[in-house]
Symmetry: C2
Subunit: 306 residues, 2 copies
Amino acid sequence: MKSEHILKELRDRNPRGIARAISLVEDNDPLADEILASLDDGLVEQATVLGITGPPGAGKSTLTDRIISKYRSQGKRVGVIAVDPSSPLSGGAILGDRIRMMGHALDQDVVVRSMATRGRLGGLCAAAGAAVRILAGSGCTVIIIETVGVGQSEMDIIRLADITALVLAPGLGDDIQAMKAGLLEVADLMIVNKADCEGAETLAMDLESIAREGGKEKERAKICMTVASEGKGIDDLLAAIDAFDASHRESGERRARRERAYDLEVLDWAIEMIKPSIIERIKKGRPDRKGDPRLQAAKLLEGNER
Amino acid sequence: MKSEHILKELRDRNPRGIARAISLVEDNDPLADEILASLDDGLVEQATVLGITGPPGAGKSTLTDRIISKYRSQGKRVGVIAVDPSSPLSGGAILGDRIRMMGHALDQDVVVRSMATRGRLGGLCAAAGAAVRILAGSGCTVIIIETVGVGQSEMDIIRLADITALVLAPGLGDDIQAMKAGLLEVADLMIVNKADCEGAETLAMDLESIAREGGKEKERAKICMTVASEGKGIDDLLAAIDAFDASHRESGERRARRERAYDLEVLDWAIEMIKPSIIERIKKGRPDRKGDPRLQAAKLLEGNER
C-alpha cells in the first residue's frame, strides 16, 4: 500500500514524505484521498494556523523567519505554506523567501512548502487546506500561511487561518485610510514592521484609529511594532498571538472560523471535481461559439441537476 | 418589457442604461439573459479588446487616460473596465483611477465601469466578459480592460483581451529576470513607462533580452517607451497596438484567442450557476464537519452526474 507508506513517513516526520503527500493532493492523485482520510483529526484540530499577509516590501518573510525561530525555541514544530503569487508582476518574493528561509533549511522541524497560484484555475483554498492538514498530521503544532495581500485568491486562503496578522511598513506609499474596510475585515493583529523607520509612528496612529472604528462587530485589532531585521518586538508579537489564540479557543470563535473554513474547502473541492466534466462538455458540446456564453453555460448544464 | 427598454438605452448609448445592464449581470438578474442574448454579435466581434496590466506604481491609469484621449481624437467610442482589486492591500488604485479618469467624465463616448474583485467567489471573468459585450453592444469599438497584474483572478481576466500591454516602470524594485516566464506568457507589448527616469534604459534592455527568448512559440513582444504624464510615446504605442491587432486579425490568432476566451467564460458561468446548489447542499448536508473536506465534497456530489 503506497498510501500506508506515505502515512508512515508523515508519522515519522519525514520531509520527503510530507512533500510527496502535498504533491499528490496538488496533482489530484487518488492516493491523496486515502492519505487525507487517515490523518489524525485531533492533531489538525489542535494545531494553530497563523496567517501572515501584507504588501510586497513590508518584510513578511523576514518576520516569518523570526517567528519561526521563536516557536522553535519553544520546542514547537513549525509548518510554513508560502503562497507564491508567481504572477509575472508580483516581484521577487519567491527568490527572497527561499533565501531567507535558508536559516532553517537544516532544521527537520521546520517544514516549508510553497504553493503557486499561477496556472491554477481555482482550487488554491482546497490545496492549501489539505496542506495544512498534512502538516498538522506530521506533527506541526504551528502552521504559518504566508501570502502577499493582493489579489482575490490570495486573500481567500487567509480564511483558512485561525489568526491573521497583517504586516505593514512605513513608506510603502499605500493610502492606509483608503483601505480601512479591508484592513478591519482581514486583520486580527496589525504589525508595523520597520518600526525604526521614519513614518512608523504615523502609520501606527492611523492603524490605531482604524482599529478603533472596528469596535463593535469585532474585537479591536492589536497593533504590534517590530523591527524584524533586528529581531525587535518579536516576543511581544508572539505574546499577542498566543493571547488572541487562547481567547478565541475559549470564546468559540476559533471553532466558528474553522467551520467556515471547512465549508469553503468543501465548496472549493466540489468545484474542482465538477470542473473537468464541464470542460469536457465545452470541448465536445459546440462546433461554433456563437451567442452569449451565459446562455451556452445554461444549455450545457441542462438536464443535469444543478 | 424592461429588457427591451434597457436594450434601447444601450443602442442609444445611454450611460445609465449601460451601467444598469452591467449591474443586472453582476446581480445575476434573469433580465440579464435577455439583454445579453439580444446584443449585436457583429459589434462584439469587431470591437478591439485591449488589456492593460502592470504592478501598482507603473502608471497604468495615467497611460490608460492618454490612450483613451488618443482613441477619442480618432473618433472612436471607448469603454473601460477597471478591475478594482479592492483588496485591503492593493493601495490607492481605486481612488487614483477615479481622479485621473475625470478628464473624460463629461465625454459621453467614454464609458468607464469598475468591477470589484473582493467579496466575489469567482465569476469575475464571466462578469467582465459580459461587460465587454455590453460595451461593444453600445457602440464602443475599443474596450480597455485595466487590471493590476498581481493575483490569480486579476490575471485570468486578461485572457479576455485581444492584445495585452504590460506596463512597467524603472525603480519599482522588481526583479525582472525572475519574472521572465510570466512576462513572456502575458505580454504582447511591453511598455516602459516613466521612460525619462533613471533605469529606464536598463529596464528596456532587460525586457528586450527576455522578449528575444520568447522567440519560437510566440511572436516577439515589442517594447514601447512612454512618459504617460507628458503624453510622450503614445502615438508610437497606438501604432504598435494597431499593427499587432491587424496582424492577429489577419493570421487568425485573434479568432483563436476569442475562442479560448469564450470557453473560459462559459466555464466560469457554468461554475457560477452550479455553485449555489453546492452551497445549499453544504448547508443542509452535514450537522458535523468531521473528516477530510475532499471526501465530504465527493460525497456531496454523489448521485449527481459530475
